[in-house]
Each structure stands twice: as structure tokens, then as C-alpha cells.
Amino acid sequence: MGLDYAAVEKEVCKKMTAETIVSMIRILVFPGALFLFTLAFFYEWVDRKFFARLQNRYGPLHTGPHGILQPIADFFKLLSKEDITPHASDKLVFILAPIFYFALPLTTLFVIPILSQTSLISFEGDLIFVIFAFTLIIITVFLAGWSSINRFSTIGSMRAAVQMLGYEIPMGLVMVGPAIAAGSLSISRIVEWQSLNFWLILLQPLGFAVFTVCLLAELQFVPFDIPEAETEIVAGWRTEFSGRKLALLRLGRDLELVLASALITSLYLGGSQQFWLIPPIVIFLVKTTFAVMLLSLLRAVFARFRIDQMLSGMWKYLLPLAALQIILIQLGLGG
């Protein structure tokens, strides 16, 4: 056999490198990390600006056109500041917690379809992975506050952990709703199912409402900003973080906002689907911007609950509503 092994090997290597480069670009640049950072900064601006307009203010105005560069200015300023590690803190956890808090939402965003109907990483059961990642984020918050050895941080982290007991179960229950309807635990399949049938917000409006309320608690937005209540416990679990660590925490919060809006979009608003000639990515961005504005609207019109009110409200009203939604789906309504 006169097979030229060297040539075949060369061919295979060439193909492999081309594939590796393409997948590296997809993960690092578009629609991966770099694109998601830009989106995170943009949505922080949308959130702050919309929040300010609801309060009859202007919000960021003089940093770039209409203040659009404000989150980037904040980020670079924090990067250039002194990075203090308190003497009494648990140093390893204190340094690692901001990195995890920023890396977890970023990783989770890879399973959400952005560019087309299939995501970067898609497998059967990635919905379970998202629920698990949400729990891990709150555990990171708890560790961040606990490791600072500061009385305000400790109170804040305990509140974050207690709050998790309230909203975790209704959120998990309600996220199963779209999965039952689509007959799959993969987010990409749920998006695909919605493009063939109806948007799930029309079939499961109750589930959408419960999910939005739970996401407010997950993001620690105003009715549920109990873990970092500024008027009570300084800055809650992030009191001791400064400089680079605070910059990472803020970026992590913004990525979490992107994740929350992307989840609302993918599970209930039809996700990134082609509409007429408009590419799916544009549809996705429009829908997520709408979701961010919905979240900041709710943030602006409510006042903070106490921790006991939040817990009893979640268990008394939200959990039965979530269960009712699942029962309705089982009875053949909305599935």
C-alpha cells in the first residue's frame, strides 16, 4: 500500500488546528467570553439608566454617549485601586471567592443558545446544570462573606444562605415546566420546541411570573436585596472587598444579570430564533434587553422585605403557585 502517512497526518493536523482555532474563537471572542463581557457592561448600563429614568433622574450621562461607558470606567477604576486583604480574613477563600463568583455565571452562559438555536456546549440535562450553578453562586457568596471575618459580611452571608432556602425550591420546580412541555432537559431543545410551537410565556404565564420573582431573589435585586441591605449592614457580604476583587464581583453580578435575562428569554420568550430576515442574535439581544428592563422595573417599584417576610412569602405563596403550574401542565394545560 502506497499510502503517504506523512501527508495524511499533515492533512489531519491542518483540519484539527483549523477546528481548534474556530472553537477557540467561539469560546473566547464570539459568542464567548469577550462578547459576554461587553454584553454584561451594556446591560449594567441599560439597568442603571432605566432605573434612573423610572426615578425621574438621568442616570450616567457624561461618560461616553449617554453614559454608555460608565460600567467600563467603574471597572477600570476599581482595577487600578489598592487591593486590601484584611489581616484577620481567611486569605485563600477571600482571594478565590471573587474569581469563582465571576467564573460561574460565565461558564453557565455557554449552555444557553445565543448565536443560533444550539448553544456552544449542549447536552441532555444542561437545565439541571444551570440550577446547580445557581446554587453554587450563592454558596460562593456565602463563602465570600464568611471569609472576610467582618460582622456585617457575616450577617450578609448568613442572610444570603437563608434566602437561598426560600427561593431555590420554587425556582427549581418552575424551571421543570418548560422541560416537561418540550420533553427534554436541554435548553437548546426547549428553544427549538418553542420555535415550532408557541412561546412558553403564553402557555405557562404563572411559571413565568414565579420564575421572574425567583430571579430577582437570585440576583439580590431590590425587594430581595436583603444580603447587602445598604441601610442596615453597610454593603452586606461584600463590605470588605476592594480594588480588583470588587471589580470582579461587580463583573460577576453583571454576568449574572446576563444569565438571568438569557434564561428568561430561552425558557419563556422563545430564545434566539430566526424571525423573517432578522438573524437570531438580534432577536436574542432584543428579548434579553426586554428581560433586563423588566427586572429593573420590578427593582424600581418595590421596597425591601425583611428576611422573615421574604422566607414566609416564598413558602406560603410562591411554592404553591409553582406546584400549581406543574399540576396544570400535568392536566394538559400549557404543555
Binding site: 434612573a52 450616567p60 457624561h62 477604576k77 487600578s80 485601586k81 454593603a235 476592594s242 470588587l246
Partner: protein, 140 residues
Amino acid sequence: MNLFKWARTKSPWIIHFNTGGCNGCDIELTAALTPRFDLERFGILLEGSPRHADVLVVTGPVTLQVKDRLVRIYEQMPEPKHVIATGTCAISGAPFKECYNVHGGIDIVLPVDAYVPGCPPKPEAIIDGISKLIQKIKKE
């Protein structure tokens, strides 16, 4: 102008500390932050924790009681940091000057970057003081 200096001039976050004034300046500072004047236009946010803040806005004279606490708050802030003395009390001690329980103005204890006179200063005056501080940061 390099990136970090631009970022610093565009987002000075303030922390507010009353060392024992009459609350007049505090009301005016709050007015500067609320919708009518809206300091967030310039990227200025009010932070609760000294670890997050860049500018310490002090109102009131330094009393014997509060001196150590003021210095401690200042030391907890990360570098680079700035101080604004708001109101006549914070500048010199004003009516409380040479009282048995008062040290005097803020600059006895801390390095002050900008003074905003007035009793109390208007919100416009406070915004003007902060913009002068930003000019100072630009020249550094």
C-alpha cells in the same frame, strides 16, 4: 490621558461621614444625590463601605470623640483616596471653633483636597466642589 486616569475621573464614588455637625450639610448632600440634582450623571455613587469608596465627604467639625473614628474610616479606604470638607464647620470649626470639645477643621487630622464653604453649602456648590476635585485628579 491614560485609561486608568480617565476611569478615575469618571467614577469617583463617595462615602459620607458626619463628624458632629448639625445635619444641615448632610441634607444638602442628600439633595445633591437625589433626582433634582442627580450626581449619578457624573458617575458618582454613594457607597456604604469605606472599602468601596474613593472620596470621603466630611461634614461637621472634628470633635474629641470622633477624631479616632474619622482617621480609622480614612485608613480603611483603598488608595488613591481624596477628602472633601463640606460646610464651614468642616473647614474651620466655625461656631464651634475653640470649644472645649472640638479640635477644629478636618485639615487638622486629614489631608483635604477640596473645600466647599457655606452654612450649609447648596447642592450646586457641592457639585462644583466635586468637579474641582476631578480637575485636580486630572492634573496629578
